[in-house]
Amino acid sequence: MLLFALRRVAFGLVLFVIVSFTTMFLLSFSFDSIIGSKLGSAANVDSIAAMKADLGLDRSVPVLYAEWFRGVLHGDLGASFFTGEPVTEALPSRLAVTLSVVGPAMIISALIALFLGVLAATRGGWVDKTAQGMMLTGYLVPNLLIAIVLVVVFAVNLGWFPATGFTSFAEDPAEWARSITLPVITMAFGGAASMANQVRGTMIDELRKDYVRTLRTRGVSARAIVIRHALRNSAGPALTVFGLTFITLFGSALFIEQVFALPGFGTYSFNVALQGDFPVLMGLTAFGVGLTIGVNLLIDLANGWLNPKARQY
């Protein structure tokens, strides 16, 4: 298991380097545009060259990357070209907002998915059909539409929740809960649908296996079969989908944050990308890649723990 874990970590690191280097390489073609955007109408060939040299962007990409990577290892991601704000200070507050929404949305989605998926797989008949209908609806209805309907009904008309904005937990826990409710429901809707379908499928497969029949003949209760045996055995594929859903929810945060005007990671990334704030963009890339690799690594490790066969890959 240790060797397996080390192998996955090493693979993750290599992937991190490849993706972040590629990002820097691609961004290097835009250095002139980025500096042009900072200089605004004062931009010309000379002023761009001077500022490029001043910022050290006239060096080769491998040199720039080595310096950046050294900084990453020391926890220094540089500072914004525009505001001078250190990237390591700019990210956490934005991240907290996004995680405030994605975290609860993920937990609620997972609980709904487990409940709906297991119910559909074990009961069959009209319960299964109804559950599938709900999953299909979750798939088909765009998040954006759900968000708009929720805002119009619960924020604008009923006034139960704020239409836009975010209150931090530290500032006011009750307001925090109100500010994330509608975004969390919006996100959980689609997330639960995709995960529930996966849980249902794997549960049906498991329940058809010979060992389940054997357990039944031994008089093990249906509840125990589902909870102690079938659910655990079907957890592997479901975990993979849960991990992917988490990353997808994180990615879709941009749209949700736009609709609810949340000052999160997605909004920040979007603004920074438009501005071409190079150090922040690299910091966001490092974080995004790190998150994806980290979540996948955790899933791999969990899978390895759940299923010894998986450890050989």
């Binding site: 200089l39 605004g40 001078g84 836009t164 438009l274």
Partner: protein, 529 residues
């Protein structure tokens, strides 16, 4: 007399102004995307003083965050709402487009127009309590002039700036620059704390001489800016709001939802939804008729890329091919058709020019045929992030007379470079209201952004030289009218429409800005009388 000022000098306002105006089109209008600065008293109720039960807090939205508070990096347009409150400016633009002293008390030019003397108030202080005098203004202007950044170009005709005494600033120019006077309502008109300018944190934590200061505790950079009124500001009584919260909300629908939910007090609303606000009973509305313009810049007037454009008849044909009423209707009906480049609020505007190009496709086709282009031709145009929504209509209008448009997609950060590249014979572009002097510099000067191929004309050169000597804005109307007429008669541009904007106001609030004011200022937000 030098008419031409350096290229970068000419482009600075157009870019920011157009980007601010462009946001109106692409986002459907946000409170930040519009106008004005007003006289120091416009923030009060109409009776001159706030009523006893008048609101003392204000929540508004802007569609983009200021990128920095470093004086050299300040952008005009939307961003001025926040930095203008913190720094203030020597002058502001009044409701009718006139220059109103603010941090300054007056100005005078030398006879040759190369020396501008500005007198400052003698009771100015920064929010940290230190005095703001001519020496601090000199340091601020020199910082902007000598530091690479977006604002530098606005100061590049400044040869020297001297503080003659605590309240007198003498600015000497390397070339006549009548637009500079109005630039004193913008970023070169601010006074920043010079000691603080050296700090790295200055981009986030500014110290200015304006009516408000940034509440660092409640402000989250890029998301929400909380401004606290300074009771020691020289004209504090003119500002009715003790606390102003400016939220950054990029999405126009989110702004409207926020307004409906009571989270914002005043916001610009989209033309399509404005009637809902008007009829709801919960909001009053204020409509600005012409705050930005949409037009085709026929940049290739010498025919360097597409020889057809050297022929006046071809440029005129484009002007005849545009159904301007249709453009206004497509934009939601807020605004008016534009037949000339000067805004109705400027002294260069001439109603007689509105009948030069009426919509007449047959006439356009016959002009093209006379010029030898009966079969039409193809052109490349830059597709900019701010213009995408209007491009299909342009494509159709030009296709009607046989001109095929190929749109080149331009990344947002390359917008200015694309315009300056000289690669495009025609450019779809926007502009906010500009004072006459700046309009002339930005639209007609040989080095203007909107004249990227540096076209000159002897008749225009003579007019521009006269315009460069104007030191009293009120006395220049005749010259400005002639320059505007030159643009129309020679079809340098094909104006499309002046766009308006509707502001919805919650009970107790009133938007008091006007179309004549270019930048968004806190003074535009007031209490209902």
């Amino acid at each position: 007399m030098q008419v031409n000022t350096p290229l970068r000098r000419q482009v600075r306002r157009s870019v920011a102004a157009a980007i601010a105006a462009g946001a109106v089109f692409t986002l459907g209008a946000c409170s930040g995307a519009s106008d004005p600065a007003a006289s120091p008293t416009t923030g009060t109720s109409e009776s001159g003083a706030p009523a006893a039960d008048a609101p003392t807090t204000l929540a508004i939205a802007t569609n983009r965050a200021p990128s920095t508070f470093d004086p050299v990096g300040l952008a005009t347009g939307n961003d001025a709402l926040i930095w203008g409150s913190i720094y203030d400016t020597l002058f502001v633009i009044g409701p009718d487009g006139e220059l109103v002293p603010h941090l300054a008390t007056g100005y005078s030019y030398s006879d040759d127009g190369l020396e501008l003397t500005v007198t400052l108030r003698d009771d100015l202080t920064f929010s940290d309590g230190t005095p703001a005098t001519a020496a601090e203004y000199k340091a601020t202007l020199e910082h902007i002039r000598d530091t690479a950044g977006a604002g530098q170009a606005m100061a590049d005709t400044v040869a020297s700036v001297e503080a003659a005494d605590a309240t007198t600033v003498v600015i000497t120019f390397s070339a006549n620059d009548p637009g500079f006077l109005f630039d004193l309502t913008s970023r070169v008109g601010i006074i920043a704390q010079p000691d603080k300018m050296a700090d790295e944190s200055y981009g986030l934590d500014p110290i200015g001489a304006g009516p408000y200061m940034l509440d660092a505790e409640k402000t989250q950079s890029g998301t929400q800016y909380v401004l606290i009124k300074r009771d020691d500001y020289w004209n504090a009584d003119a500002y009715p709001f003790e606390e102003v919260t400016v939220r950054v909300i990029a999405d126009a629908t989110a702004i409207e939802n926020s307004l409906r939910a009571g989270e914002l007090d005043i916001a610009g609303v989209q033309a399509q939804t404005a009637p809902q606000f008007e009829s709801s009973g919960d909001f009053t509305t204020t409509q600005l008729e012409a705050q930005s313009s949409l037009f085709l810049d026929i940049a290739d007037r010498d025919g360097a890329i597409e020889p057809a454009f050297a022929d006046l008849r071809v440029r005129q044909a484009i002007n005849f091919a545009l159904n301007r009423d249709g453009f206004v209707q497509a934009g939601g009906g807020v605004g008016q058709p534009a037949y000339q480049m000067d805004f109705p609020s400027t002294s260069g505007y001439d109603p007689a020019l509105d009948s030069v190009y009426t919509y007449d496709v047959e006439k356009a086709k016959s002009l093209l045929a006379e010029a030898g282009y009966a079969e039409g031709f193809s052109i490349d145009m830059p597709s900019l992030v701010y213009t995408t929504s209007m491009e299909p209509a342009i494509t159709q209008a030009l296709a009607d007379i046989g001109i095929t448009v190929n749109w080149d997609s331009i990344p947002p950060q390359d917008t200015v470079q694309a315009l300056l590249s000289g690669k495009y014979p025609v450019i779809l572009w926007f502009a906010s209201t500009l004072p006459d002097a700046n309009q002339v510099q930005d639209f007609y000067a040989p080095a203007a952004l909107l004249n990227p191929m540096h076209t000159t004309d002897p008749e225009l050169d003579a007019l521009l030289e006269q315009a460069s000597k104007i030191t009293d804005p009120a006395a220049g109307a005749d010259i400005y009218k002639q320059i505007n007429a030159f643009g129309v008669n020679n079809a340098w541009y094909a104006p499309l429409m002046f766009t308006g904007q509707t502001f919805a106001e919650a009970e107790g609030y009133k938007y008091v800005g006007t179309s004549a004011q270019q930048s968004v200022r806190i003074e535009s937000y007031g209490v209902a009388g």
